[in-house]
């Protein structure tokens, strides 16, 4: 019985066992930093550290199959219509896993203590399973997504009354009020060996009516209450049986706890998605369900895409942009400084990521091919503590990306290789871009370098999309990115003007 809410085949789609304290791989932390994922995670978590962990794990392990993405979208749609469902599932799962946490390792573990502990936990878990059943009964027929329907159907068929009765029977038998019955064979020195615990149908000595058993068929003795060694031997003998019972019960408890842990993970994920949607809608930021296309195609068609992290941070709506890059593996964004180029890049990156996670994306329309992995290469501050210079650092980060590249990946470059002379940087960038695009990797490149952009434009005009940050004639920026060839003016003068210059001899009091 698997939860299968996050992917149709079950299994952990992402490993949220990575605790918050565990550092991310360098590649992942680069992406998280560049796209400002922590803001997204915080919005998804809404204060719950477990949801935060799940959000982090999920966004760093996006799905790569359209089927999986659609599967999640449908489940999310269902849960959007019934928000208390997600909360309920999460609460049940949390209560269940908490019961498991309460069992701490005792200093001296004995078979009977292990048995008792496991029975206690299973008792609690039985209660949670009943709640799950109630949940399934409530939503049976009210959900439409493949995932939830299957989940509800599984719960209804597997967790029926006879099954609960079976579990309860095991729990009461685990008290072994009738004593312990074992079968055994003869081992070394004719001692007992190969003990197998048996379910006592009835206590020997209380024979079934009508069945006569002579005295030769059983042999009993009592251990005297003051016989210390005898009581010890008795306990050891009994422990042989209890040991087996404790083991199997504890292992079964572990299995049930594993099921609830999986439920908690998947419920947390959807809860996080819904939290994010709620935050964004409270800021009047529009969202849509994207249309995923299989990897290997070059589809990217977007309307009004914006950066959700920016919106969450500033609390005010952002400017959306359109991008039509079907059949164009390379997208180059040029234009005025602080004209919204980086923001646009982030918006596209986040939208791609969120689509692949199965969430809604921050746009009014989004249709794109899935990619195997997303990488980012954004500027970093020069770190005075490192020995390498900025260019060195950029190269090493690029090297890291190159190590992990797969076909059908997506790479976001933001002002890359600026830490060196224009010509060198341009040459390097050209080489890298053509290599990646040639290998079928989608490249989104933001640059202010005219020569580089121009040369790319001349080489690839039809197979690449060129966008330009808009600048009105009066110098104001609209943060809109429109299709256009690169322009040679760099708009530094009007930026200079806008910040008020560097002061003049007149303004310094003489």
């Amino acid at each position: 019985m698997r939860v299968c809410l996050v992917s149709p085949d079950g299994g952990l789609a992402f490993d949220a066992r990575r605790r918050a304290t565990e550092p991310l791989a360098a590649i992942e932390s680069d992406l998280a930093r560049d796209l400002d994922l922590p803001t997204i995670w915080a919005a998804m978590a809404d204060g719950d550290p477990h949801v935060w962990e799940v959000a982090r794990a999920a966004t760093l392990a996006p799905a790569t199959e359209p089927r999986t993405v659609r599967y999640r979208q449908e489940v999310l749609a269902d849960l959007r219509a019934h928000p208390e469902a997600a909360r309920q599932l999460y609460a049940i799962a949390c209560d269940a896993t908490r019961a498991g946490d309460r069992t701490h390792e005792m200093l001296r573990r004995t078979p009977s203590s292990t048995l008792r502990r496991s029975a206690e936990v299973l008792e609690t878990l039985l209660g949670q399973l009943r709640r799950l059943r109630a949940f399934a009964e409530a939503y049976d027929g009210n959900v439409t997504s493949e995932g939830l329907c299957a989940f509800v159907a599984t719960l209804l068929s597997e967790l029926d009354e006879p099954y609960f009765a079976e579990m309860a029977a095991h729990l009461s038998r685990a008290r072994f009020k009738e004593g312990v019955v074992m079968s055994a064979q003869l081992g070394t020195g004719n001692r007992g060996a190969g003990y197998v615990l048996r379910t006592a149908r009835d206590a020997p000595g209380r024979r079934r009516r009508g069945e006569e058993r002579g005295a030769t068929h059983s042999y009993s003795f009592d251990v005297h209450p003051r016989d210390e060694a005898g009581r010890e031997g008795l306990a050891r003998l009994q422990d042989r049986g209890l040991n087996l019972a404790a083991n199997v019960l504890a292992q079964s408890t572990d299995h049930v706890l594993a099921f609830f842990a999986e439920l908690r993970l998947e419920a947390a994920y959807y809860l996080g998605c819904l939290n994010l949607e709620r935050r964004l809608s409270s800021l009047s930021a529009p969202r849509c369900t994207p249309d995923p296309v299989g990897a290997g195609t070059a589809v990217l068609s977007v309307s009004d895409v914006y950066d959700p992290a920016l919106v969450l941070r500033t609390g005010s709506p952002a400017v959306g942009n359109d991008v039509e890059a079907d059949e164009k593996m390379l997208v180059v964004v040029t234009g005025a400084g602080s004209g919204g180029k980086s923001t646009c890049l982030r918006a596209l990156g986040l939208a791609q990521l969120m689509m692949q996670c199965g969430m809604q994306v921050c746009a009014t329309r989004f249709r794109g091919s899935l990619c195997e992995a997303i990488f980012s290469h954004f500027p970093r501050e020069e770190d005075p503590s490192t020995e390498s210079g900025r260019f060195d650092e950029e190269l090493s980060r690029m090297g890291r990306i190159a190590e992990h590249l797969t076909p059908h990946a997506m790479v976001l470059f933001n002002e890359s290789f600026a830490g060196t002379g224009e010509r060198e940087g341009a040459e390097l960038a050209r080489v890298i871009v053509s290599a990646l695009v040639g290998a079928g990797i989608r490249v989104l490149y933001v640059t202010h370098r005219y020569d580089f952009a121009k040369s790319l434009f001349e080489q690839t005009a039809t197979s690449a999309l060129f966008l330009r940050a808009e600048r009105r004639d009066d110098g104001e920026r609209t943060f809109k990115i429109r299709e256009g060839a690169p322009l040679s003016t760099s708009y530094a003068p009007d930026l200079f003007e806008r910040i008020g210059g560097f002061g003049s001899a007149r303004s310094v009091g003489v």
């Binding site: 597997e158 003869l186 020195g189 004719n190 006592a200 059983s218 042999y219 019960l249």
Partner: protein, 419 residues
């Protein structure tokens, strides 16, 4: 196992232990026969053993034991019973085919997945003897399965002595060989040579090459140190090795090596070295410095003398002598006198031996004495090489060398003072 059986008074336990002992005996003999056949031994003793064990395993008595054992083991293996513990009452009964509890529990919970999970069993150690609760359970089983246990009793009576006496003797005797092999094992692993010496009765010459003190070598090898090997040779008419030289230079070790070689060769064991011809002796006499015994009336010298006298009176031309430091508790002059007397007598008797001494005049006394010297590194006279070589005693002690090196020898000092 047999001794455990003997020590156990509880019949059902003892009986089973005896049965198991018999079973291991059967298997041991059979595997011995197979192993011997596979090894194709060349020595007379082992070949005889091989044919004996082959005959034994085919013998009627052996096959009888085997069939009895097998049958009884099978019948005991088929015994199954149930034991019910409730409070202070234990009930042993025949099996009623109740369902397996663990299987049932697992079946109920298997729908939750079968992921890897840990083992929660607490280890319960089995003690050598059954405690009395287990023993009473066993009594119950014996009562329930009376026929099987009666058979066990009969078996024990019938086969009280199942071990073939020859096999038993082999077991005792082979231990010596196995012990020696395991003792010398580390030495062989360290690359030290061992060989089978030629053992002769009164050979013209006797010698050994690249030999060493076995006991010291083992200690060194186990401690990670290096072993220095030495040779000795006694040519025609040479009988006594007189060893002198630097202190702590390996003279005593050399003497020990000589004695060990003769002893081990006479035992028939392989000896340290790459080759050796050793004289077979009738007795080995040793004289090492002893502590003064409080009971003796005379001083140490007298004790020394009396010991040597005893030795020389008892020794024969086929004996071997190992002497370490003669007559040290007297003046040089006296020691020299006594030493000469000693060597004369030794050469008269004609026995061979080694004598470690600081009395260098003994090294050249007769034609039968061979001078050997523990050498030092010519570059640095304070370093010992632990090599003992045939060489005339050089009289120069290492201290003299050291003194000379520092320019403090008498001529050197005189020359310096003149300046």
């Amino acid at each position: 196992m047999r001794s455990a059986a003997a020590n156990n008074a509880h019949a059902p336990q003892a009986g089973r232990l005896h049965l198991d002992a018999a079973w291991s005996y059967l298997q041991a003999v059979e595997s011995l026969a197979t192993a011997l056949a596979a090894a194709a031994p060349t020595s007379r003793a082992m070949r005889a053993l091989l044919s004996y064990t082959v005959d034994l395993t085919a013998s009627e008595r052996f096959c009888d034991l085997r069939s009895d054992c097998t049958r009884l083991r099978q019948s005991l293996a088929s015994v199954r019973y149930s034991v019910h513990v409730r409070g202070a009452r234990v009930t042993v009964a025949s099996l009623d085919d109740e369902p397996d509890y663990c299987v049932e529990v697992r079946r109920t919970f298997e729908r939750f997945g079968q992921g890897v999970t840990r083992d929660y069993r607490v280890p319960i150690a089995d003690r050598e003897r059954l405690d009395h609760v287990e023993a009473r359970v066993l009594d119950g089983v014996a009562a329930l399965f009376a026929s099987e246990f009666d058979e066990l009793g009969l078996f024990c009576t019938k086969w009280q002595d199942f071990v073939d006496p020859v096999v038993d003797r082999f077991r005792r005797e082979v231990r010596f060989y196995l012990a020696y092999l395991s003792f010398t094992g580390p030495l062989r692993t360290a690359g030290l040579p061992m060989c089978y010496p030629e053992v002769r009765w009164r050979p013209e010459e006797s010698w050994a090459r690249d030999s060493y003190d076995l006991a010291l070598a083992r200690k060194l090898v186990l401690g990670g140190g290096a072993v220095v090997t030495n040779d000795f040779s006694l040519g025609a008419r040479e009988t006594l090795l007189v060893v002198s030289g630097a202190n702590q230079g390996g003279k005593t070790t050399f003497a020990r090596m000589f004695g060990q070689l003769h002893h081990l060769a006479a035992l028939g064991c392989p000896v340290p070295g790459t080759g050796a011809r050793i004289r077979l002796c009738d007795e080995i006499f040793t004289h090492f410095p002893r502590e003064e015994s409080p009971g003796s009336t005379g001083g140490r010298l007298e004790d020394d003398l009396r010991c040597i006298r005893e030795i020389l009176l008892t020794a024969s031309p086929d004996s071997v002598l190992v002497v370490n430091e003669l007559f040290t508790s007297t003046t040089r002059q006296d020691a020299s006198f006594l030493g000469r007397k000693f060597v004369e007598r030794v050469c008269e008797i004609g026995l061979i031996g080694v004598c470690v001494t600081f009395l260098e005049e003994l090294t050249t006394m007769t034609a039968s004495t061979v001078s050997m010297v523990s050498t030092v590194d010519p570059e640095d006279p304070s370093t010992r090489t632990f090599r003992v070589l045939r060489r005339p005693a050089d009289g120069r002690s290492s201290t003299a060398e050291l003194v000379r090196r520092h320019g403090l020898g008498s001529e050197q000092l005189a020359a310096r003072l003149l300046r």
